[in-house]
């Protein structure tokens, strides 16, 4: 049995708390858990008092998201008290519940999946003060540091390299910073996840590059110097899948966010 975890009413915490349920698919079996199953878990929302359950569609994350990293982000977020991931592998459903640094694994059979979470096993664990450090402020600091470091580009005048390259404008860097804030804050507010800040780099012809790189993925977004020109991006996982296109950087881009969540 997989005991569900409810957010504990706690006078020291905000009244609205989060309880994350994350169905995560695997590449070698069914990708994710059915929506019907997730809805069964949502029906237990009444037991969570003022809590909210966030179910993230498996398609948005699976199969390649680094689950451990994603969970560590969520677990560090303020107001998140419990997390559970689900995985279907070789016909068996397993559930891993995380709470306050403790981790347990449970296995389900098909009949139990059909019934949904058993109400009689719901408990309110004691987990006060084990998760602290709001991640948001730290991550905002990280982003601010990157933007601050990129300010050095503004000191470069035209022909700074002796090869005729133009300088970088405050406007272009500002558009890049606005793009980052807009998208990173959206993800934070929606999912309680703070995305990794990119390296903010000089691009060609006075443009600004934003570069994310991990062992599994790489993404490059370019904000052109011409404010009327579209931003462009390309990302891939070094072989199997890729994403590329052009977009208006002043408008929110969900497709790009989906990719950023994989980084």
């Amino acid at each position: 049995m997989c005991p569900p975890y409810a957010a504990e009413p706690d006078s020291t915490e905000p009244s609205t708390s989060l309880f994350g349920i994350i169905p995560v698919g695997q590449e070698d079996e069914d990708r994710g858990i059915s929506e019907a199953f997730l809805r069964q878990w949502h029906t237990r929302r009444d037991l969570l008092n003022d809590s909210a359950i966030y179910g993230i569609p498996s398609g948005a994350l699976a199969p390649s998201i680094n689950t451990d990293v994603f969970l560590s982000f969520l677990a560090s977020a303020p107001r998140v008290y419990g997390l559970a991931t689900f995985r279907r592998f070789r016909g068996k459903l397993s559930c891993r519940a995380y709470m306050k640094g403790r981790s347990r694994s449970y296995d389900f059979g098909s009949a139990e999946i059909a019934k949904g979470p058993p109400a009689d096993t719901w408990t309110v664990p004691s987990w006060k003060n084990e998760w602290t450090a709001p991640l948001k402020s730290e991550s905002l600091d990280e982003l601010s540091r990157e933007i601050q470091a990129a300010q050095k580009l503004l000191t470069l005048e035209d022909n700074w390299d002796g090869e005729g390259s133009p300088g970088f404008s405050k406007t272009t860097l500002g558009r890049a910073a606005a793009f980052l804030h807009r998208h990173m804050l959206w993800v934070w507010e929606r999912y309680g996840v703070w995305l990794q800040a990119p390296r903010i780099l000089p691009g060609p012809d006075g443009s600004i590059d934003m570069h994310w790189q991990t062992a599994n993925y790489e993404l490059l977004v370019n904000i052109p110097a011409d404010p009327s020109a579209p931003a462009t991006f390309y990302g891939d996982d070094y072989g199997r899948s890729s994403i590329k296109g052009a977009f208006n950087p002043s408008v929110f881009n969900l497709g790009l966010v989906t990719w950023l969540l994989r980084l």
Binding site: L153, L156, W160, D161, G162, E163, G164, S165, R199, L201, P202, G203, P204, D205, S207, D209, H211, Q213, E218, L220, V221, N222, T232, F233, Y234, D236, S242, K244
Partner: protein, 127 residues
């Protein structure tokens, strides 16, 4: 086979296995890594030097301020393997080694070029 001369130098075919050297201003090095923005065109193509007629050190010395630069190397075949890029020998009067990489330097192309580039001479701050 050589084509009609350009700037007094014959235009030659660059063998696939030969290396091209390219200067990298230190501003394109961040956290010890090469920035993809270094791959951009100047006057129609991305300027490099063909190893047949230039060493990496000579490429560095041709910079306006050599102390602000490093040099990367790219194998011609690795560059040509990237979609829509071509490598052509384009000598100029003062530099028989000059070669251009033609083709749009999109975000995709720049990331791919970064992956096949290796340092020949590190910028001084990385030494």
């Amino acid at each position: 086979m050589a084509s009609p001369p350009l700037a007094g130098w014959p235009i030659e075919e660059i063998p696939d296995q030969d290396r091209l050297f390219m200067r990298v201003h230190r501003i394109f090095v961040s956290q010890g890594k090469l920035a993809p923005g270094v791959f951009r065109d100047h006057g129609g193509g991305m300027s490099t030097d063909w190893e047949r007629y230039s060493t990496a050190a000579e490429t560095l010395r041709r910079a306006a301020a050599p102390s602000n630069n490093g040099v990367i190397q790219l194998v011609a075949a690795s560059v040509s393997a990237i979609a829509r890029l071509t490598v052509e020998h384009t000598p100029i009067v003062s530099n028989r080694a000059h070669a251009d990489v033609f083709g749009e330097k999109t975000t995709e192309v720049r990331l791919r070029l970064k992956r096949v580039a290796h340092w020949a001479i590190l910028p001084s701050e990385l030494l």
